[in-house]
């Protein structure tokens, strides 16, 4: 079974979420639910850190898109932290995600 871990911490109005491990069809619903729980406190900004994510496919990308549109509707700023040259970064760039959320190699 594919496994991923979601950790989060809230600092004032901003929430930092770390996702590590792998995301595919098998665990995408569970990961999405955990991310949802992490942002339930209505922060003003969310930083999603994918530095330790070793594999992601279109099922993971689907989570990112749904998260982005939800946060956009709630006027919450989303920032993605993905190291340069990582396989995850490549997929995010390939899918044109940069146009809807800021992409940074390290936490700003």
């Amino acid at each position: 079974m594919t496994s991923a871990r979601v950790d989060s911490s809230a600092d004032g109005g901003s929430t930092h979420i770390w996702v590590s491990g792998e995301i595919d069809l098998a665990n995408a619903p569970a990961v999405e639910e955990q991310i949802r729980t992490a942002i339930s406190s209505h922060p003003t900004s969310v930083a999603l850190d994918l530095t330790e994510l070793t594999y992601m496919d279109s099922a993971g990308m689907r989570i990112l898109y749904r998260l982005a549109s939800r946060l956009h509707a709630l006027r919450i700023v989303l920032e993605l932290i993905v190291p340069l040259d990582s396989p995850t970064r490549r997929l995010i760039e390939l899918s044109g995600f940069e146009s809807i959320a800021a992409l940074r190699p390290i936490r700003s």
Binding site: L25, A26, D57, S58, M61, Y65, R90, L94
Partner: protein, 569 residues
């Protein structure tokens, strides 16, 4: 009715327990039957001939219980007693277990156990002395069992094998009875006969059971790992000595390969039993993650807490998913050998820490080494090099000259033939060899897995490993994992609907490319989700060439990607 526990021996009851022939205990009473020919000391020998006769070949194939029954029957008759009982020591629990009880058969079915040192039998065993109780009451026996059966007087002797207690033989009468010195002598001689007969029978049975047990614990087949060749041989020891040698090879969810070889100190079924527990504990601890030293430290805790009498040497080697690097930790186990193509084998410089089960050891160390393609690592237990007449040093020297980087199965056979020969070894011997294939030797990869979401991780593990073995670049590996993953996810999500089926993955080298084929036998359905096309987009972007064929017999996806060059886009 539950037996009542009586652990306390009050002073008054202690006085009624006599140790015959003990200087501080008076033992002066007339032997009631003295003077009758059959009961003199010479008569004892005569009477014993009758016991001896039953140890003959007629009983060669019966189990221990039947054998004991046959031996006890004449004892009961000769001594004129109502009950005769044999309790055998269960070594791990140190309990005496009622094995045969003539006149009190129910106690066998009830599985009555007497702790060493407690009760009548427990004290006979603990003090290794004959003992008499003239009047049984609830204060001088552990359970009410004897009283329940109406036993009044008892005589017990220890069953001793080379000075070690293996059980107790006791006889009892329902009417008050004074056992004579001759009775004691006779029962001791009967005990000797019983020891000889049961020991040889038990050794035989135990050895056969241990062998079956050990075989069941060793991997029946080693895992098939693309990029590696694995072989192992195990030869059990002779003379009742099945030891606690074991080896184990398993993959971890992280894609690492774990190799274990170990040797539990001790022999027989007990050692094989402990080996089984250590093996399973070690598997579980390896699953928790960490380097080999951490895994061994967890095993230390387990053994010190649950198996305090145990000591074992263990070596763990963990292969990174690429197999290019190995991490070792050794708990007092002989060092493995590394052989590179065309070179003499060398002993790996693995620091040897204390064996498992030893208190107060220092922190365990783990070391790392690289394993180039074509390289071979050979693991063994000390039985291999110590079974020879030569010195340990000589054996190790010879071993290093004999290990070469070649076919692993042939190497294991050669080592067994050379070091063990036709003789049955005095100690167990286990040999395990692993060779990392050259990228050119790696054959195609074929996977067939159920079309279910949880197959995706297994597919990635196998694909990642195969691509490392054939020397794919990190970028090619990352691309192909996504492209193959998307093709498989499509098959899993869309091919079979609510039905079930398989997804097939085939990888082969067509230099300078890798060719991946993903197949299902279901029906293609266009993606339903609004963003469902993204998977196909990723597939296309992460391959140099992509072909998708939908037919009536299923979908075929062919992905081509350069082996060592970055893909595209």
């Amino acid at each position: 009715m539950l037996p009542t526990e009586r652990n306390d021996f009050s002073q008054s009851s202690r006085a009624r327990i006599r140790k015959p022939f003990h200087s501080t205990v008076s033992y002066a009473r007339p032997v009631s039957t003295a003077g009758e020919p059959g009961n003199t000391l010479t008569g004892v020998e005569d009477r014993l001939r009758r016991i001896k006769s039953v140890t003959d070949a007629a009983l060669a194939h019966v189990d221990v219980e039947t054998l004991l029954t046959e031996l006890l029957d004449p004892v009961r008759e000769l001594l004129g007693v109502d009950a005769a009982t044999v309790l055998l020591l269960d070594v791990p629990s140190q309990d005496l277990v009622v094995t045969v009880a003539l006149g009190m058969e129910a106690t066998v079915r009830q599985g009555v156990r007497v702790p060493m040192g407690k009760g009548f039998a427990g004290r006979v065993a603990a003090e290794k002395q004959p003992m008499i109780i003239e009047r049984v009451d609830e204060t001088n026996v552990l359970y009410t069992v004897l009283a329940d059966h109406g036993i009044c007087s008892l005589l017990g002797v220890p069953l001793l094998s080379s000075g070690t207690v293996i059980g107790v033989l006791h006889v009892g009468t329902r009417c008050p009875h004074r056992f004579s010195e001759d009775d004691v002598k006779l029962l001791q001689l009967a005990a000797e006969r019983i020891v000889v007969a049961t020991q040889s029978r038990r050794t035989e049975v135990e050895r056969a059971a241990a062998l079956v047990f050990q075989r069941s614990l060793l991997p029946a087949r080693l895992p098939v790992v693309p990029g590696l060749e694995l072989a192992a041989h195990y030869v059990p020891a002779s003379s009742g000595g099945v030891g606690g040698d074991w080896y184990d090879v398993f993959t971890l969810p992280s894609g690492w390969l774990c190799v274990v070889i170990g040797d539990v100190v001790g022999r027989g079924l007990v050692a094989a039993d402990i080996m089984g527990r250590l093996r399973n504990a070690l598997r579980a601890y390896a699953l928790l993650g960490g380097d080999p030293a951490e895994v061994l430290e967890r095993l230390d805790q387990q053994v010190l807490h649950f198996e305090p009498e145990t000591m074992a040497t263990v070596l763990i080697a963990m292969f990174e998913p690429s197999f290019g690097r190995l991490h070792f930790s050794s708990a007092g186990h002989p060092p493995p050998l590394l052989a590179l193509p065309g070179q003499t084998a060398v002993f790996l410089d693995v620091p040897s820490d204390h064996p498992v089960g030893v208190h107060g050891g220092l922190r365990r160390r783990a070391t790392t080494m690289t394993l180039p393609p074509g390289g071979l690592v050979c693991f063994y237990t000390d039985g291999l090099v110590e079974s020879r007449d030569t010195s340990l040093e000589g054996g190790l020297d010879e071993l290093s000259r004999s290990v070469v980087a070649g076919p692993v199965d042939g190497l294991c056979r050669k080592l067994i033939a050379q070091f063990v020969g036709a003789e049955v070894p005095g100690d167990d011997v286990a040999v395990l060899a692993i060779r990392r294939q050259d990228s050119g030797e790696v054959g195609p990869l074929d996977l067939v897995l159920p079309a279910l979401p949880w197959s995706l991780r297994d597919i990635r593990l196998a694909v990642r490993r195969w691509l490392s073995a054939v020397g794919a670049s990190p970028r090619a590996i990352a691309d192909l994992l996504v492209a193959i993953g998307e093709a498989c996810a499509n098959a899993i999500e869309h091919a079979y609907g609510p039905g079930s089926g398989n997804v097939m993955v085939h990888l082969e080298l067509q230099l300078p490319d890798v060719l991946a084929t993903i197949r299902d036998t279901g029906h293609w359905r266009p993606p339903r989700q609004e963003d469902g096309g993204r998977g196909t987009l990723f597939m296309r972007d992460c391959s140099d060439q992509l072909r998708i064929d939908h037919g009536p017999t299923g979908t075929n996806v062919v992905i081509r990607h350069r082996l060592s060059q970055a893909a595209c886009r």
